[in-house]
């Protein structure tokens, strides 16, 4: 710590702090326009100038000058105030004063500072800027006339997003922020630039003219899309969520959001939201009252042995816990989530290899590591904000990045990153080969060598020597050895891999293989080490923690559909799930649903699955309820409702609670009571209460008991020359099928496509946007072609989010589906 004096106050600050940070820590406000706490200091705006006794005669920028022992700082002298006033006068000279129609009004740093410094007149006169406004994309408006060139957008896009869409162009007074060749903005549309813009130069178009800033309530919540667990501040007016509001102090990600977190909130107030229960009468769904609906549902599920339940991993921990109680209460063991296989990496893989179904690393380990091994470049698309953490780790902290993937991607473009592109479906094989190489290169940690099962494992893994594996996974033995050595010899190393319905290959075997690698290299635990599973949905980890998956004789989700077909299951309770679109093999799902005696569905929207339901119960979104989510790395976070429930919708908590009561159980009164029960039953949650979770949440305790188990894997079937390997995955703009109801994501990514390599495209004479036909054993579909450089030859990639033309028409749910492709 350093001792210094600021405005006659003796204060202390960390050694590496700047004057600005030191003042902020000590509650002293220094005005600033170009600073954001997650960006590197820039020193452009000259608002934060202060005087320092030791550097007399100069005006010192507080945001870039580090503190030194004994420094005497004065933050406002007549000279400094004069300089700040001049800066504001100069900025207001060309900046249009259209505050009445500017969305930033009330939240504008320039406006606020002009007010603070009473800039009521200007000594100078000049014309206002006449730049053309960029309206070329649906999400971000760029009005460079209002720009004050603080450079925050340029820096955030470069330093954190690593896209680099924006830069300074021109010189002198003609300087402005522009895109390449001064053309329209065309980027990832994460809106990070919008979030940091201190003025109205960059605006979120979906929010234009929706509300004045001060007329909205700003309410805290947790993002309801992926499993990253980002914090949100939602702008709410008259019971509607109108926008996301940036808060640089929020969450591990310091307010940083991705495109769906920032622009995908509209599903909450989407007009298609169901507002009343619907009951099927004479073949059609008609509105009914809650009493009738719940009575009917209770009567149908009462016979537990013939009832199964499948839930979306978007329910809260409390809802899952209660739901499990309901199922147990009616005597059914058939409950599951996430297609039954997307959680197996945790519930089966980690559980047996590490002793518990949880990751051993946390998100904030990423920047503390020395090397990251990322499975699939898709990790950036599935969990963009974790992708940003990786960007920062690699670019700023010098963390090495190695990627094992079936295609190239954005992460691979980071400085020094190496991508090992393997044949589709061979990831477990490749990881086994890495393990074998670690043993061969004698890089095994002493802890691993002393494990009782080490010898047997070492013998078994010999079958996966790099030489044997090379041709099967498409990576040379030398590369395998070098990657293995790189991982094992790094002081700290971490493994990240996404799971989800779209990644059937990321199963228990892969998780076990990865756990083995970490165990062998001695990287299971500790700062900057460990395994971090990136689960697909916002509460995937919570669903696992609360045990909402079958054990013993219970049927898993896909087996439920088998059981429906052979008549063992007659009633299905779907909570939020939309299997018709998202589960493999559409035809088979539909066949089963048709055969059901009774299908009850809780849902926000009239989905494709609702068409098969006998009873549709309108559920509430996360913005309308209370509870906790557990995100990647076991981060448990509490959230409160921010708006009233849509129409007559009820939370799944209320619905399940009512059903418990109607089936003879004891109803729960509120989520906090159930959470107390969770805390007292689940070891990982011990001691947690809503009160002590507070705004920062808490991390589940994870006990590890490493074991080396040989994963079961076989080489992927060799592709016939004329066949393509279909792999599915996530897009940056979507998460599951829910984001289809958010306008923002649909603006920039409205429909499905089939991505193929440039070589295949030219061989088959396929051009961008040509309609191509894809045929597999289970069906056939037509999609627009996208020709790209990142896909290897013989591979076709199709995203799994879209209800219109869903990929499950041809997708088998195996890691790789062989398909025929024609024009």
């Amino acid at each position: 710590m350093v001792n210094l004096t600021i405005d006659n106050r003796q204060v202390t600050a960390p050694r590496n702090a700047t004057i600005y940070e030191a003042a902020k820590i000590n509650g002293i406000h220094i005005p600033i326009l170009c600073h954001d706490n997650k960006l590197k200091p820039f020193g452009a705006c000259r608002m934060c100038l202060v005087e320092v006794e030791q550097m007399k005669g100069r005006q010192i920028p507080a945001c870039t000058t580090p503190v030194t022992e004994g420094m005497i700082v004065t933050t406002s002298t007549p000279d400094i105030i004069k300089a700040r006033k001049l800066v504001l006068e100069l900025l207001l000279l060309n900046h249009p004063l259209d505050c009445p129609v500017c969305d930033k009004g009330g939240d504008c740093d320039l406006q606020n500072l002009s007010y603070d410094y009473k800039i009521s007149s200007n000594r100078f006169h000049d014309q206002k800027f006449q730049h053309k406004i960029d309206y070329n994309n649906p999400l971000i408006e760029r009005d460079m006339n209002r720009c004050i060139l603080c450079g925050k957008c340029v820096r955030i896009c470069d330093e954190i997003v690593s896209f680099g869409a924006l830069t300074f162009i021109g010189r002198g007074i003609e300087t402005k922020i522009g895109c390449e060749f001064d053309e329209a903005l065309n980027c990832e549309f994460c809106g990070s630039c919008v979030s940091v813009c201190p003025v109205g130069a960059l605006l979120a178009r979906p929010f234009k003219f929706k509300a004045r800033f001060w007329a909205m309530e700003k309410k805290r919540s947790i993002c309801g899309y992926c499993g990253t667990g980002c914090n949100l501040t939602l702008g709410v007016k008259e019971g509607k969520v109108l926008t996301t509001v940036y808060d640089e102090n929020q969450g591990f990600h310091r307010g940083q959001l991705c495109v769906r977190g920032r622009f995908g909130y509209q599903f909450i107030n989407n007009e298609k939201r169901l507002k009343k229960p619907l009951i099927r009468k004479n073949g059609a769904l008609v509105e009914c009252g809650w009493d009738e609906a719940l009575q009917l549902a209770a009567s149908k599920i009462r016979n537990g042995s013939e009832t199964a339940a499948i839930a979306t991993p978007r329910l809260t921990n409390e809802e899952f816990f209660l739901f499990r109680k309901l199922m147990k209460g009616i005597g059914s063991e058939n409950f599951d989530h996430a297609a039954g296989y997307a959680h197996k990496a945790l519930t089966s893989g980690f559980a047996r290899s590490l002793g518990s179904a949880a990751s051993t690393a946390m998100v904030n380990d990423i920047q503390k590591s020395d090397m990251l091994l990322v499975i699939k470049t898709d990790s950036y698309e599935t969990h963009p904000v974790i992708g940003f953490e990786i960007n920062i780790a690699v670019k700023d902290k010098g963390v090495k990045l190695n990627i094992v993937s079936d295609k190239n991607g954005k992460l691979g473009k980071l400085p020094g990153a190496r991508t090992f592109v393997h044949l589709p479906g061979s990831e477990t094989l490749l990881i086994n080969a890495l393990c074998s190489s670690v043993i061969k290169q004698k890089l095994v940690s002493s802890t691993a060598a002393s494990l009782p099962d080490f010898k047997e494992y070492a013998k078994g893994i010999e079958a996966f020597s790099p030489e044997k594996a090379a041709s099967l996974c498409g990576i040379s033995p030398e590369e395998i050895n070098s990657l293995a050595a790189d991982f094992a010899s790094s002081k700290k190393a971490m493994i990240l891999f996404p799971t989800g319905v779209a990644y059937p290959g990321h199963d228990s075997e892969l998780a076990t293989a990865l756990a083995n690698l970490a165990i062998l290299a001695g990287k299971v635990e500790g700062e900057g080490c460990g395994l971090l599973c990136l689960p697909e949905k916002n509460n995937s980890q919570g669903a696992v923690d609360t045990g909402f998956y079958p054990t013993g004789k219970g049927l898993d989700a896909l087996s439920v559909f088998d059981a429906i077909e052979d008549g063992r299951i007659k009633t299905l309770f779907l909570a939020g799930e939309n299997p018709v679109v998202s589960y493999p093999d559409e035809a088979r799902i539909k066949r089963a649903l048709e055969k059901l005696d009774f299908l009850v569905l809780t849902t926000l929207f009239p989905t494709e699955t609702a068409e098969y339901a006998d009873l549709v119960l309108p559920a509430s979104s996360y913005a309308e309820k209370e509870g906790t989510f557990t995100s990647a790395g076991g981060h448990v976070q509490y959230f409160a409702p921010v708006i009233p429930k849509a129409g007559d919708s009820r939370t799944d908590f209320e619905i399940i609670s009512s059903l418990i009561k109607l089936t003879g159980g004891e109803a729960a009164s509120n989520p906090s009571e159930i959470f107390a029960e969770i805390a007292s039953t689940l070891d990982g949650y011990a001691g947690m209460t809503y009160e002590n979770l507070g705004e920062n949440g808490a991390f589940t305790a994870v006990k590890t008991r490493p074991a080396l188990i040989l994963p079961q894997t076989q080489a992927p079937a060799l592709r016939k020359p004329e066949e393509f390997s279909l792999v599915t995955g996530a897009l940056l703009y979507h998460n599951g099928t829910l984001s289809q109801f958010g306008e923002g994501p649909m603006h920039v990514s409205p429909e499905s496509y089939a991505e193929i390599s440039r070589k295949d495209a030219s061989r088959l004479g396929i051009k961008e946007n040509d309609t191509i036909t894809l045929t597999s054993d289970s069906g056939s579909m037509q999609l627009a072609a996208r020709v790209s450089l990142r896909i290897p030859e013989g591979v076709v990639f199709i995203p799994n989010h879209f209800s219109a033309n869903p990929v499950n028409a041809i997708w088998s749910g195996k890691p790789v589906t062989p398909v025929a492709l024609s024009r």
Binding site: F124, R171, I173
Partner: protein, 593 residues
Amino acid sequence: MSEKDGIKILICQGTGGISMGAKDVEAAFVRHLAEKGVDAVIGKRCDIIKTGCRGLCANDVLVDIITPEQGRVTYDFVKPEEVEKIIDEHLVKKETIEKRKAKPYYNQFVNAQMRVVMTGCGQIDPESLNAYLEEDGFKAIEKCIRGMKPDEVIEEVKKSGLRGRGGGGFPTGTKWSFCKASPGNHKYLICNADEGDPGAFMDRSLLEGDPFCIIEGMMIAAYAIGCDFGYVYVRAEYPLAVQRLQHAIDICYEKNYLGKNIQGWGFDFDMRIKMGAGAFVCGEETALMASIEGFRGMSRPRPPFPAVRGLWGKPTNINNVETFANVRHIINRGADWYASLGTDTTKGTKIFAVTGKVKHTGLVEVPAGMKIREVIYDVCGGIANNRKFKAVQAGGPSGGCIPAEILDTPVDYDSLIKAGAMMGSGGLVVMDETTCMVDVSRFFLNFTRMESCGKCVPCRIGLKVMLDILERITEGRGEPSDIETLKDLGIAIKKSSLCGLGQTAPNPILSTINYFRDEYEAHINDKRCPSNCCKELLLWQVVVDKCVKCGACKKACPVDAIVWEKGEIAYLDKEKCTKCKSCYDACRFMAIE
């Protein structure tokens, strides 16, 4: 080689020389020497040596002929068609052509100087390593590596009192010691050759005329600091400098004066050229480093200083071309010798680029501390066209104007700053009574505001506002409060700007307001330009009393606005006049105003 051995023909081939046709002159010499078989005729070998710039570019093409009999004779303004005559008379007949010899002022120009840094310039072939070796080339680095510890080299440079020649005047030895003291095993050395000041070209001439001495200077610095890689950041507008330096680097690699284990001395040094893309601000060290890294040339705040966190985040030492050129002389001739030159605070010599309304423009190297008056009058022959001296702008667009009253200011860092100007890179723009000081300020400010990178507010917008006010004043729309506003703004911009560009850009305005406030007042209050310079304020006419009926004005007028017959007083047709000032400039009798 002594001057007795053979005949040497030195042809100036700097950028100035080449643009005046030095290549053709050289070709003519080659052709005629061969055709006439001169070597055989006079029984001696004639070597044609292309040299770098020797300073007096205004008189190019300069040809020095050194013969045992006549010694060194300089011909100026040489044209290819004159070459045959020079060969016939000077070489064959051994008769100097007195009429074509450079006038006495040439010798005065040369002799009044003190050439240390520029010894090689104009004397040796910049493309020949042997020529450099003959001039004790690479002796200094050898002396360092073989006989001195790095700390001793730094001590020697500190003792010499050498200060950075880029303008700031930071003690070079101290700068080196900072970088040496920075932890890290990888450090960079940068030679700043982004000479952007209008009118300054000493760095270019050094690179063109003696590139090896820059390489040697960098090697010494690298040895002292402990780094093994150097960049020379040259502006792309200097193609010849880039070509000559690259040539020199290539030869050095070939002959193992660069690369690994240089000359078996156990010292490694690599270097490469990075060409700029034409931004003045890239002469600022942090912007320069950003540019080398491939980013847009924008300054960043210091600290951290480059010595701590510079290029690619590594400790970096940046010096100017001229600074590096000094180093070998300090090592060769000793710090004490160097410290004996110059003043208490500014040691050694300094090269100035003298331009403007002076008789002989060019590069001038003088001991620091010489009076400005001596530079202008003794070396450069005084003001052209019999006009009156008004001011000299020292330090380029970031410098200030020094009026006649303080013409005895010595040229050293501190005296110039006290006078409201600065050493800068060493540009001296001489102005006479026809130069309007408001217009000069406007000119320099227009340059700096165009070259502002746009990052910080005071520089980006503030300079534009100042320029607007100056333009108003020169167009006769000035307001009485303008002078105070300009002063106020200027001081505020100096204090609050991020980098050297903004911190110095208001200097020309502030110094002209200080010394020539009356001119501003005349523009604002009387709507009159006392120097007859600001077009909007002028109504040209012939002063009948002064007109000598020569007709020079008529010849100069591009729009036939002057009526003149032989023996008659000229008349200026105000309807036709476009106020272009051609007649005013053409008249040598101040008969037009």
